[in-house]
């Protein structure tokens, strides 16, 4: 019985829903696993922890994407490093544009004006970078409104907590120098 639940959970967390969505939301998990009752969330969390413990020795982790509230399976960082997970290796300009888009979107609840990114990036034209990032599934461009919206993909591919930690450490180091 338990194994069946774990199998279904594994399927749901490792599926690709769209170009920029993987895994399943908590509601979907509860629905597919037919978990009901007062303690359904506790029971689901326990299942997720059980599966996590089960797959951890194989080099996998269960993660939560805060941008779209999906649970999904990620490959552990040490193993990811071996596969060179950085999709922008050798393209620092694209990485920088994505970073600025992320900064703007976090400030404006998920979307921002193209002009704002250009201002932050201190570049005259970013249309090529934005087109590339859109093709890769990181953002959606609304040409009419001149607006950019982040897709949840960045929440899957970037450990946002680690990024914030890196920025905070950078800041504290800079403060210590002055």
């Amino acid at each position: 019985m338990k194994m069946n639940e774990i199998s279904i959970l594994m399927h749901l967390l490792s599926r690709r829903v769209s170009l920029y969505e993987f895994g399943a939301t908590e509601d979907e998990l509860l629905k597919y696993l037919n978990i009901k009752g007062k303690n359904k969330h506790v029971y689901l969390k326990k299942l997720i922890i059980d599966l996590s413990n089960y797959i951890e020795p194989l080099g996998y982790n269960i993660k939560f994407n805060p941008l779209n509230f999906y649970w999904y399976i990620s490959i552990k960082s040490e193993i990811s490093d071996m596969f060179k997970t950085n999709p922008f290796e050798g393209h620092p300009s694209l990485a920088a544009t994505l970073f600025c888009t992320l900064a703007c979107c976090l400030k404006n609840e998920g979307c921002t004006q193209i002009q704002e990114i250009i201002k932050l990036r201190k570049k005259k034209n970013l249309s090529e970078d934005l087109k590339d990032l859109s093709k890769k599934g990181y953002l959606l461009i609304d040409h009419k409104q001149n607006e950019i919206r982040l897709t949840p993909l960045i929440g899957y591919q970037i450990d946002l907590n680690q990024l914030i930690m890196n920025l905070a450490l950078k800041k504290s180091k800079a403060n210590a120098q002055y």
């Binding site: 399927h11 749901l12 490792s14 599926r15 690709r16 993987f22 996998y60 993660k63 999904y72 399976i73 990620s74 490959i75 960082s77 193993i79 990811s80 596969f83 997970t85 950085n86 999709p87 922008f88 620092p92 300009s93 990485a95 920088a96 970073f99 600025c100 992320l102 900064a103 976090l106 400030k107 932050l120 201190k122 899957y156 591919q157 970037i158 450990d159 946002l160 680690q162 990024l163 914030i164 930690m165 890196n166 920025l167 905070a168 450490l169 950078k170 800041k171 504290s172 800079a174 210590a176």
Partner: protein, 215 residues
């Protein structure tokens, strides 16, 4: 297995860490404390437990310091602003790429075994695979004429004894000489089998050193 007392060594190491933290040379958040606890665990014995309990306490103090540092860091985090503050320092593209460096991770997904794929496969195979071949039963053929297999006219023992009588006059002789004048390889093989049987039942004897067959 020896249990060395490395408590003093660890205490000195932890003192140096504390000094570096206080002077701002390092941050405890960048330092792994696991090796200290691992070393303590691996070298612990009943003989050094008294010294070790103090070292362990010191390691725990360091760990709570690390938690404190993390708590302070989290309290000071203002997620939106921290991005903009970093960009205000005018980092170049490579610096921005570096800050993202250890944050990338890979999503694991198995499309090939997803329920959607299995459902699709099930529909596809059920529809597309039509069984057209029919299994026909084989009819018994009428066979006329003689039977295919030929039965030898003589039995094996009779043929072997005929061969024995034929070569008996030659003995004793070398093993090779028994096959003199025989060109057909099938015949050679047949005689060789007879010789083996005759040796086995003791009508012939064989001297390995000289390869002579005798009675």
């Amino acid at each position: 297995m020896g249990y060395d007392d490395i408590s003093e060594e660890l205490t000195n190491y932890m003192d140096s860490i504390k000094e570096d933290v206080v002077t701002g040379r390092i941050s405890l958040l960048e330092l792994e404390l696991n090796p200290i606890f691992d070393q303590l665990k691996e070298s612990l014995s009943v003989y050094n437990i008294f010294n070790y309990s103090q070292t362990y306490q010191q390691a725990c103090d360091l760990l709570s310091l690390k938690f404190e540092e993390l708590k302070n860091l989290l309290n000071h985090l203002d997620n939106d602003e921290i991005f903009l503050q970093f960009l205000k320092s005018n980092p170049n593209d490579n610096e921005i790429e570096q800050i993202l460096g250890n944050c990338w991770r890979t999503v694991f997904h198995l499309e090939s075994i997803s329920p959607e794929f299995m459902s699709y496969s099930n529909t596809r195979f059920s529809k597309d695979r039509v069984l057209t071949e029919k299994i026909e039963h084989i009819r018994k053929e009428q066979i006329g004429g003689s039977f295919l297999l030929e039965i030898p006219r003589q039995k094996f023992t009779e043929k072997m004894m005929d061969f024995y009588k034929k070569i008996k006059k030659k003995l004793p002789c070398k093993f090779d000489e028994l096959f003199d004048g025989i060109q057909d390889q099938v015949e050679v093989y047949e005689y060789f089998v007879y010789i083996l049987h005759l040796l086995q039942i003791g009508l012939f004897k064989y001297q390995k050193a000289t390869t002579i067959i005798y009675e």
